[in-house]
């Protein structure tokens, strides 16, 4: 670091200019270096169940036929409620919950079980579970998924379709379901040699169709294990969605440093635990690793032992802190990309290495404004959705510089909890506003307006507050889960907020495959292209430090 006699730290060119102005001052020269300011272990899920928001695996219970022990042990009904239900069944068929109107206590319990039971006049189709055959998926090898299902109808299950979300473009594998498979409630979907997957996270979205048009869907996330069989990969800290990424250099004005957060994933495709040496070597390159210019490098020792579980993933996070005057600070300051390389060695001598691009990102802030009541789990889901939305944007090198948490409680919100017209939406924007340079995002209880679920004040929205255009509103996408808890659909809400904020930042609808700005919520994806990135760049709420 170049030290100014009056105490200020300055860059190299500024130092020369200052020296020319004050040649007689007493100067000292001290080179600043990047240090690893934090390193810590992250929890890791099993490789065959890697997603936080995967579909739960459970069996539906037929209320008309379930025995008392099934009602109490599987569903958790109290003994009195189970007896009450069985008594009701003796006098009439339980065709719908309306048939139990006189059994108030039972209904209170059934309300929590509404997503797990069915009535006599219903014929549900339900995917019970999806598991990779042999439990794990390995890179560069064919694999298969076993789909287990329940069908309470005479109509036959005929088609299964699996959409694969991975680091590349999504693809679909479908097959017809044979009569034998339909009868036994299990079908296998095979992925042949033309469709191998690389190491990393993959999400399978499975849809099953019956020949009367009924559909059931299921989501399963897995980590594709290396078949070589040890690998190291880098991703931005906290990455929870599929895709390809850059790590971001975050400028911290209070310490005048750039912070680079990076996650290290070591995947083990072997059936035995792999011990790693604790030494971690890192390098930042300007240009390609090995072919560009080495900016800075170093090494550190991991504070504890590193044991990669059998058929599993070990995850750790590292924070690189680069003060002004360091090489990495200089490259970030010039808005140039770098490549980070991290290498480690297994106790048996195998060397594994991973790379990722690091760059300064465009950043905007959001005020997340809850309109009306949110339960504790809905609150947690909302901020998981905001986190996922940030990750979607970060895949196109746009990040959040802040999330301000706000609430308009039920009493103050009045009729704004339900948005039912453009006038009401604009009244909401006019009546409420957060006086900062973040985008106001109103999360309302429900849209009851022409089938819409989100809207933005304008394309682009204003870069100042006040008036009837300064924000976006989205439906909170609520549902009740299989345990009877009020939840928000995290994946849908993440894309919905990202989509409406995208409008606010200047993006029009774009019907490209998997694009975030598709008008149809059903086939929207997490992609933003480079032209869209250039479009949002000039918005007044965008910062690129």
């Amino acid at each position: 670091m170049y030290g100014h006699p009056r105490g200020a730290n300055v860059g190299c060119l500024q130092w020369i200019a200052a020296w020319r102005r004050e040649p007689d001052a007493r100067w000292h020269v001290k080179m600043a270096r990047t240090t690893v300011s934090r390193r810590f272990r992250l929890t890791s899920a099993a490789a065959d169940r890697y997603g936080e928001f995967d579909s739960p695996s459970f069996t539906l219970v037929d209320l008309q036929r379930a025995s008392q022990s099934m009602l109490t042990s599987m569903l958790g009904l109290t003994a009195a409620s189970a007896r009450s239900l069985i008594e009701a069944r003796r006098t009439q068929s339980v065709t719908s919950p309306h048939a139990l109107a006189d059994h108030r206590r039972l209904l209170v319990e059934l309300r929590k079980l509404h997503g797990r039971v069915f009535y006599a006049n219903e014929e549900p189709l339900h995917i019970v579970n999806v598991v990779p055959r042999g439990r794990f998926v390995f890179s560069r090898r064919p694999f298969a998924l076993d789909v287990e299902f329940q069908n309470a109808s005479d109509a036959r299950v005929v088609v299964v379709a699996v959409t694969v979300l991975w680091a590349g473009h999504p693809f679909v594998v479908e097959r017809l379901v044979s009569a034998a498979d339909a009868k036994r409630g299990r079908v296998t979907v095979r992925f042949d040699r033309k469709r191998p997957l690389p190491v990393g996270r993959v999400e399978f979205q499975v849809a099953l169709y019956r020949d009367d048009g009924a559909e059931s869907v299921f989501r399963r996330t897995a980590y594709v294990l290396p078949s070589n069989p040890l690998s190291l990969s880098l991703s931005p800290a906290g990455a929870r969605i599929t895709g390809t990424w850059s790590a971001r250099g975050d400028y911290h004005p209070e310490s005048d440093t750039f912070l680079t957060e990076c996650e290290i994933d070591i995947a083990n495709g072997d059936a035995g635990v792999v011990s790693m040496n604790r030494r971690v070597n890192w390098e930042f390159w300007d240009g390609g690793v090995g072919s560009g210019t080495l900016v800075e490098s170093g090494s550190f020792d991991w504070p504890g032992p590193i044991n990669v579980p059998a058929h599993g993933v070990w995850r750790g996070a590292v924070w690189f802190s680069s003060p002004r005057g360091s090489g990495i600070f200089g490259v970030y300051d010039r808005k140039e990309d770098m490549a980070i390389s991290v290498s480690m060695t297994a106790a048996d001598g195998r060397v594994v290495r991973g790379e990722i691009t690091a760059r300064v990102m465009l950043a905007y802030g959001v005020n997340i404004i809850k309109v009306g009541d949110f339960g504790a789990q809905e609150h947690a889901d909302l901020y998981d959705a905001v986190d996922q939305m940030r990750q979607i944007m970060e895949q196109r090198d746009i990040t959040l510089r802040g999330v301000d948490r706000r609430i308009i409680n039920n009493a103050a919100a009045g009729s704004y909890t339900i948005v039912n017209s453009e006038t009401e939406f604009r009244d909401l924007l006019e009546d409420w506003s957060v006086p900062n340079d973040f985008v106001d995002v109103y999360v309302v209880q429900q849209f009851q307006w022409s089938g819409y679920n989100g809207y933005a004040g304008d394309i682009p929205g204003p870069a100042s507050k006040g008036g009837r255009k300064d924000g976006v509103a989205v439906d909170k996408s609520g549902y009740t889960d299989v345990s009877g808890t009020a939840r928000l659909q995290v994946g849908t809400l993440a894309q919905l907020i990202g989509h409406e904020v995208g409008h606010y930042l200047g993006l029009q609808h774009l019907e490209d495959t998997n694009n975030l700005m598709r008008s149809n919520t059903g086939n929207r994806g997490p992609d933003l292209n480079y032209t869209q990135y250039r479009t949002v760049f000039p918005h007044g709420f965008m910062v690129y430090q």
Partner: protein, 190 residues
């Protein structure tokens, strides 16, 4: 504001072993027309959900009622919850006795989630205001605040004219500055 003159170059695409595409494998649905119809219906139900898009003038037809009822009864997967609510809303656009009966059942269900019941109440008002008045009267003291609010507003002003009341609007115009929503503390984890 970011300086547009400093837009960084497009980053090089990451190298993915085996390339970034894999071929899709589709089956013919010629023998399963209803499956094809269902898929098309799913797409129609979720199209034009952003208010910047133009809603389709005829997203559902009378022949779709049976499939719509099926969609609204698929309550076992979270991934289908948005589709389900959109199907409930579209049932309110089709003049069908079965559809109305189904909406009444959903709106008054003693076990159904409040989002579906609120959407069913609104859909019922648009397809059959007379029947909905009876249903809404029974929902004004419902256990769910969202259903209560929906019922009160629908019963008061009718669907399609659900603006704020004139007195509220005047009060709003008198207000000179917009209010800032209250700040929250640290989030609670459920």
């Amino acid at each position: 504001m970011a300086n547009p003159k400093r837009i960084p170059p497009k980053p090089p695409p990451p190298v993915i072993p085996g390339g970034k595409t894999r071929p899709s494998l589709r089956v013919s649905l010629a023998k399963h027309r209803i499956v094809a119809q269902r898929r098309a219906l799913n797409l129609r139900l979720l199209s034009a959900t952003c208010a910047f898009s133009t809603p389709s003038p005829d997203p559902v037809r009378l022949r779709d009622v049976e499939l719509l009822r099926k969609v609204t009864s698929e309550r076992f997967a979270a991934e289908q919850s948005l589709l389900r609510i959109q199907a409930v809303r579209q049932l309110g656009r089709v003049q069908s006795l079965e559809g109305v009966n189904h909406l009444v059942g959903l709106a008054t269900s003693p076990v159904e989630g409040e989002y579906v019941r609120a959407a069913a109440s609104a859909a019922l008002m648009s397809v059959s205001p007379q029947i909905s008045q009876v249903v809404l009267a029974s929902l004004k003291r419902d256990r769910s605040r969202l259903v209560q609010q929906t019922a009160a507003r629908l019963a008061g002003v009718g669907y399609g004219a659900l603006g704020k009341r004139p007195t509220e609007r005047r009060a709003r115009k008198r207000r000179r500055k917009s209010r800032a929503p209250a700040q929250e503390g640290q989030p609670r984890r459920g």
